[in-house]
Symmetry: C2
Subunit: 342 residues, 2 copies
Amino acid sequence: MADADLSPPDGPVRTITDLARLAGVSAGTVSRALAGNSLVNARTRERIQQLARAHGFQLNQMASNLRRQRTGVVGVAIPLGHDRRQQISDAFFMTLLGHLADELTEHGHDLMLRRVIPDRDEDWLARFTGSGMVDGLIVIGQSDQFARIEAAAAHYLPMVVWGNHQEGQRHCVVGTDNRLGGRLAAERLLAAGATKLAFFGDTAPIEFAARFAGASDVAAQAGVPIIACPTPLAVDRMPGEIARHLARHASRIDGIFAATDTLAVACLKQLHERGLAVPERMRLVGFDDLPVAGQTTPPLTSIRQDIAAGARGLVDLLLRRLAGENTESLVLPPELVVRATA
Amino acid sequence: MADADLSPPDGPVRTITDLARLAGVSAGTVSRALAGNSLVNARTRERIQQLARAHGFQLNQMASNLRRQRTGVVGVAIPLGHDRRQQISDAFFMTLLGHLADELTEHGHDLMLRRVIPDRDEDWLARFTGSGMVDGLIVIGQSDQFARIEAAAAHYLPMVVWGNHQEGQRHCVVGTDNRLGGRLAAERLLAAGATKLAFFGDTAPIEFAARFAGASDVAAQAGVPIIACPTPLAVDRMPGEIARHLARHASRIDGIFAATDTLAVACLKQLHERGLAVPERMRLVGFDDLPVAGQTTPPLTSIRQDIAAGARGLVDLLLRRLAGENTESLVLPPELVVRATA
DNA sequence: GCGCAAATTTCAAACGTTTGCATTTTTCGG
DNA sequence: CCGAAAAATGCAAACGTTTGAAATTTGCGC
């Protein structure tokens, strides 16, 4: 029986049964051997693993998954609200996605990415969670789906969402304290000498709304005005909209809080074109502290979100939920990074 | 039998068998009904679908996949060479990934993302293709895995790779004509008045090597010198390295071809800090034409890759390969986008 | 050698679908 | 109404693995 591997070279060994025949044992033993189960004799185990390597055997994951009722795959859903085209190419989301991939891989999970357009697809959440294809779900951004997510959270435990934390919400969320971030931004603008503020960004997503609210808190407290300038994040419409805002309001403001670094960079460009000196004539603070923030001229002052920590948090909480724990939300502290624009 | 749905509310209906019991038919019929198979009577079909909706029934994909021997999932592998941390956060790759997600979703496929570190994981390709988890594979970037990919292509057909096309290669690739792109860049630099060129970028990845080669062609033909300045793409080391290159070579060059817009943006910043006027004293051309290119000051002249077209090509070719066709590679034309830096 | 426990291995039943084939029901021309 | 063809449904065998329980082998003290 030691020379089983000297048998004539037969067809490709695809299934565990093929391998069993080759090794002269039963399928069950092979399965256990490959899993490193100590129930099977160390020598047989080694011999089988050897054989598997030699024949380039790959376990069929589908079958394994079906039987074990788990897949080792975590779903990552990116709901796209109205601003369809924007979000997925947004540097922030992409960086988060990259870190998520790292973090999940590290823990032996695969990542199944799905972009969903909630308007077109009523039950995108149920479809994903109920498919049996994923063990758990990470949702990147609440978009305008807060209610739906909240509803799903009642039945489906292994789900963690990146976004903003609301008082008393049911679903587990990881995200930056956007309101605090907004305060930090406004405080910095004031400290840099601004006396009349503007907020650039769409206030529909609750993250952005919270940032604006934080800035408004500070402005109210200091008795300075702050005006909201709704600006789309879609890359093609952004510059025009900013130009329009500046044309209307530039004379009435001397400090801008941009909801996003991407927005801030676009602002910087428009300000430059209008000949408004930054930071002398106009202070500017962004949000996210993307790599690009350090590379603009002048370098951008921004509110840093620790994306890597966010990804770690998402994965950590999800794994704990997969283990049955009912985790609390995680709110990360934002951090002011002072460069040259404010 | 019409009032089957008036039966007492029992446990959740998870399996097709539950649904069958509820509908008073066999599992087979339910399966066919849900698939819209015309073998089953239109009325029963409708009734079953109704029932499924009412109970929020979700087909178990794992079981379905196992039985049908296909998953509807396309794997996307991102091999990370030496420059680990860089690539996945690189705006170009991320944008491509976003478009891929779009395009695959459009065709009813899901996307399974996997970052692989070839050094640590010898047979990352076999593991992915042999797992039975994916119907086909898209590899983003050849990195330093050309040989391994080439080997896999011999056995595994449904695979398409983003990258550079080599004469006589076996695996199907989609990518920009990097050499031509390099030529366009160099030609533009010369047209803008440059007389001594430099190439900034790592020439190890074959895409970049081809860009450099294209530029060198033009330089040689025009009789102007071009020097290669190896620059890492890792965001933390990039600025320092650029500064070092400029300190050494700035006096000897008046035109820079950056392998990437990300690199070009960093160059722009360093040039500004050294007080070298762009484009008067130093012409600069980037590559990719990322959104950021239009937002720098001055706006960046760049070589445009049509990322969306690339994604469409990758998916289209993969689908055709899944259908059994043996497709040729697709080489996309780059396009010069003239802005203000050259 | 015997008996008993421990160590291995085999057996067979799942996991939830899909699908070829057999079987039942319906339809319809005569 | 009969019989045959057509339409609809049921049956049961896969898909390839895992795993509890049963069966077999091995080890060991006496």
